[in-house]
């Protein structure tokens, strides 16, 4: 492992956002990942998105499982609390944290091993519960931290660094998320910041379960010919169905998009997502059509990216549980303890 400084951002680093904060205020510790690891680019995109949205860094909670990907929350948003939990169980920890304080922004970072193998169950259940969060899987098709074993997202027939062919069917996390009821679903590529940053922004603003499957090549173990998660393979087979601008009020946050037809969707929080269609036949508000499209393209070896599904008016877990607006962790004794009089009444009913 080399201890390199994180990749230098080309944006004017010290420009201040609406809160008067610069990029520096959104950075974390120096990354200890391999130089060129896709995961570091995702960290950079998270920093960029949070800065763009002028979020208060300390109002974000970063949670992860175990893996190289799960280490990254230490490398961005230093002023935010982070929790490197246990392998495959970030979703439950995040769910509990969210129940305790509904006011923070929850960012769950995971890997394909973490979420598609050991943690597949928790991945599924957190999405179907509609936990208000952004759940990112940094998907490299291998277990990076344990040195390159195939993960459950590795395509059948793709080859390991040592030349062994994977014989198992892959799990497509996006297809699962569609079936499970996630209300914001996207796929992107760590090498395409223009696409990734606005997707992260939109996902953070989304008031429900937002999931991004981000292909993130592992330089050390899965970036060779024969891999379907290498930089070269993804660049060659990336089929973006749309690009996205996120607008809060009138202000355009992101520009720099490719031409095409546009469609605007207003999210529940008031933000507007302007989608630029690249694939004419793709409708990101049609769950079943999206699932069908993805399967057909996957069969052809294409990697479909973009905002793949959006329900602009989701119902989150708190709505289902009908919890009070005040975060549960701020309720005081008076609101929590029914008191001695109530005990007397309870006693009386038990005789």
């Amino acid at each position: 492992m080399t201890y390199l400084n994180k990749p230098v951002l080309h944006h004017p680093k010290l420009k201040a956002n609406a809160l008067g904060l610069t990029h520096r205020d959104y950075e974390g510790k120096v990354s200890t990942l391999c130089a060129g690891c896709g995961h570091d680019s995702i960290s950079a995109a998270i920093i960029q998105a949070c800065w763009n949205l002028s979020l208060e860094p300390h109002r974000i909670a970063k949670l992860s499982g175990i893996g190289c990907s799960s280490k990254t929350p230490d490398y961005f948003l230093g002023p935010a609390h982070g929790f490197n939990s246990v392998h495959g169980r970030m979703p439950s920890v995040l769910t509990g944290a969210n129940l305790a304080n509904r006011e923070l922004i929850y960012l769950g970072v995971s890997g394909d091993g973490d979420s598609a193998s050991i943690g597949l169950g928790q991945f599924a259940h957190s999405l179907r519960r509609g936990v208000n969060m952004l759940y990112i899987v940094e998907n490299n098709g291998v277990y990076g931290l344990t040195k390159g074993q195939f993960s459950a997202t590795a395509d059948r027939g793709s080859a390991s660094k040592r030349g062994v062919s994977n014989s198992d069917s892959p799990i497509d996390m996006v297809s699962l998320a569609l079936q499970l009821g996630a209300t914001f679903i996207a796929r992107s590529f760590s090498g395409d910041k223009t696409q990734l940053v606005p997707l992260i922004e939109a996902a953070i603003l989304h008031k429900g379960a937002a999931f991004i499957d981000c292909i993130s090549p592992c330089i050390a173990f899965n970036n060779h010919p024969g891999s379907t998660k290498s930089f070269d393979y993804v660049r060659a087979h990336n089929e973006a169905v749309n690009t996205l601008d996120v607008m809060i009020g009138r202000e355009t946050i992101t520009a720099d998009y490719a031409p095409g037809t546009t469609r605007e969707i207003v999210q529940h929080d008031g933000s507007t997502l302007r989608l630029h269609k690249l694939a004419d036949d793709y409708d990101p508000t049609d769950r079943t059509a999206a699932a069908d499209y993805l399967q057909r393209r996957h069969a052809k070896g294409e990697v479909v990216t973009g905002l793949l599904y959006l329900d602009p008016a989701p119902r989150d877990l708190h709505a289902g549980l009908d919890t009070v607006e005040t975060p549960l962790n701020r309720l005081g004794d008076a609101e929590l303890i029914p008191g001695a009089k109530a005990i007397e009444r309870i006693n009386a009913a038990l005789r």
């Binding site: 002023p79 982070g82 439950s92 920890v93 944290a97 928790q122 259940h125 929590l336 001695a340």
Partner: protein
């Protein structure tokens, strides 16, 4: 051979043998409650298989004016309503005891015993004559036998009628038909049988202001009073009713009066891993959270429990213990998770355990567990068991002091951070091993930290250096030491005469132990006792052992788990601790304890005092 029928007033055991799902539970409960209302203590126990319908269930009611609430063993009257278990049920009756059965269909004479009193009541016939609807026939049959029993045992019908009125307060159409059925049975018995029997209930004043409830419900109420707002659970007998009770208590006690929104969040998780994960996430984020489970669930939570121990996150677990694995005896009671909880997880871990003896302590310790978890920043286990969890038990009324404040432990505030107070997440500022923590989102630039296991220093900075690891592990030991002084203190009681013998017990063994001590005293055997209420062990525990030559450790498991914990944690010579172990899945009895202790003493040639004197 005929035996003189038993003659007992306010001191006998009635057992109902029913078919699961036949609606008998409510009539049986009325039976127990009506005796309580006559001022006579009862302790009922449900004995049921892991099945919903069709298999046998039993409801055993011990009536004891003396107030013995432990299981007694033996049956003085069997209400045999289940043909499937007839032979075993009849065989279990004490000589001179009574058999009550539905005599509609004649039974072959070899199905009876000649040393018991047989009471046949044509329940089905009475029922079918009066009712035509099959559902009514089924339900009222139970009330009819209750009526007949009231005549046979001299239970005041008024007491039952009052209970029926209370039970159907909101469905008052049901009151009159139930009372009618009650008298149908009662009148038949009075007209056709010799009433009362040798077993009788006589009004007394031995209940006082005590209340009658299940430990699971009491624990859940403790969680409400302890300020729990997040509960995550996965159904498992015998703990499910704890989570369900929390839900119903919260609906009554924890809804915002203005907005009608919930000041609680309950999630039925996908498994126990997720349950404890949610509890840990909520605890990390400053809410009081708990899960309720049983042994198999504790097994699944192991990895997370290690994380919570090392990352120092408050969590409360109610473990309603039962025997063995899922296909073991899931509906039978034991105290078999003591070691699994004390040392749960990987690495060097030790956890805080609380041992409530009855529903009242389930309430108290249930609430206290949350203060302890926050104060110590660690998982706290409340170890109850099926016997107190799922059975109603008579206990002192619950009490709450309105002056009490929730102890949130060492949480550094925004103001303190702003004022420049040094924050080191794992820094032992007070010498008690307990560091300060911050809730996520507290301050824009100070007090944030990255939570991970042990690969960090006092300031939560990443390191894998050995000295930093050792430093942290030693602080955790200091914290464990602090816990000794915070958990409920053990309760010591001197024996009836000076003695070099002691006995240690805990949890649901209490009432049986108390009764056994009296039985032993009658034989001239005196024992000093200590009821352990928490782990890590208070210094009083090794001191008690040191003061005695031999100490019995009475528990409900095979391996003497608390005894093992005592030898390891207090450095005690195992030879000094004599195990008294009961683990067949039934609740421990005084008869068992007294016999086992008496036998051990005979083996050691200890002569009872009385025999010395005579």
């Amino acid at each position: 051979m005929p035996v003189k029928p038993l003659e007992r007033v306010n001191d006998f055991v009635v057992k109902f043998a029913n078919v699961n799902g036949s609606g008998s539970a409510s009539a049986n409960r009325l039976f127990a409650m009506s005796i309580l209302r006559m001022g006579v203590p009862v302790s009922p126990r449900n004995i049921f298989p892991s099945n919903i319908q069709g298999l046998p269930t039993w409801y055993e009611v011990r009536v004891s004016e003396r107030g013995w609430l432990g299981a007694r063993g033996g049956v003085d009257m069997m209400v045999a309503m289940n043909p499937q278990t007839w032979d075993k049920d009849v065989a279990s009756i004490e000589p001179g005891g009574y058999l009550f059965y539905d005599s509609t269909k004649p039974m072959p004479t070899d199905k009876f015993r000649d040393d018991i009193v047989v009471i046949g009541v044509p329940l089905t016939e009475i029922c079918n004559t009066r009712y035509s609807d099959p559902r009514q026939r089924q339900l009222f049959k139970n009330i009819i036998y209750l009526g007949a029993l009231s005549a046979l045992l001299e239970i005041e019908p008024k007491a039952i009628e009052t209970l029926l009125r209370e039970q159907y307060r909101s469905k008052d159409k049901l009151i009159a038909p139930n009372i009618e059925a009650l008298h149908l049975g009662r009148d038949w018995a009075l007209a056709n049988l010799e009433c009362p029997l040798g077993l009788r209930v006589r009004r007394a004043d031995a209940v006082g202001d005590r209340i009658f409830l299940e430990g699971n419900s009491a624990s859940a109420l403790g969680a409400v009073y302890g300020g729990a707002t997040v509960a995550a659970w996965y159904p498992i007998t015998p703990s499910s009713s704890l989570a369900e009770a929390f839900q119903s208590h919260c609906r009554r006690l924890r809804v915002d009066p203005v907005t009608k929104k919930n000041r609680f969040a309950i999630v039925q998780a996908e498994d126990e891993l997720a349950s404890i994960g949610m509890v840990i996430g909520a605890g990390w984020n400053g809410a009081r959270a708990f899960t309720a489970t049983s042994g198999p669930g504790i097994s699944l939570m192991q990895e997370f429990l290690g994380l919570a121990y090392f990352a120092e996150i408050p969590a409360v677990l109610f473990d309603v213990q039962r025997a063995g694995p899922s296909t073991g005896m899931p509906t039978r009671t034991q105290q078999c998770d003591v070691l699994a909880c004390a040392y749960a997880s990987h690495g060097d871990t030790k956890h805080v355990l609380l041992f409530p003896e009855d529903p009242r302590e389930c309430f108290e310790m249930g609430a206290q567990a949350f203060d302890l978890a926050d104060r110590l920043q660690t998982p706290v286990f409340v170890l109850l068991d099926l016997d107190i969890g799922m059975n109603e038990r008579l206990c002192k009324p619950l009490a709450w002091d309105d002056a009490k404040r929730l102890d949130r432990g060492k949480v550094m505030t925004r103001e303190q951070l702003e004022a420049g107070v040094t924050f080191g997440r794992y820094l032992d500022v007070d010498g008690d091993g307990i560091p300060f923590r911050t809730y996520p989102g507290t301050h824009p630039s100070k007090g944030s930290y990255f939570t991970r296991g042990t690969s960090r220093d006092r300031f939560a900075r990443y390191t894998e250096e050995g000295p930093a690891y050792v430093d942290n592990m030693e602080r955790l030991l200091r914290k464990h030491d602090t816990a000794k002084r915070l958990v409920p203190r053990p309760i010591e009681r001197p024996g009836p005469a000076p003695t070099r013998l002691g006995a240690i017990f805990y949890g649901s063994t209490s009432p049986a132990m108390e009764e056994a001590l009296e039985m032993l005293a009658a034989e001239g055997i005196a024992l000093d006792t200590m009821r352990v209420r928490g782990f890590p062990f208070h210094d009083d525990v090794p001191a008690f052992i040191a003061r005695h030559d031999r100490v019995f450790v009475v528990e409900q498991n095979r391996d003497g788990q608390l005894r093992a914990l005592l030898t390891v944690e207090c450095g005690i010579d195992p030879a000094k601790l004599a195990p008294i172990l009961h683990y067949d899945g039934t609740p421990i009895t005084a008869r068992f304890i007294a016999a086992a202790i008496g036998k051990a003493l005979r083996g050691w040639n200890v002569t009872p005092l009385r025999r010395v004197a005579s």
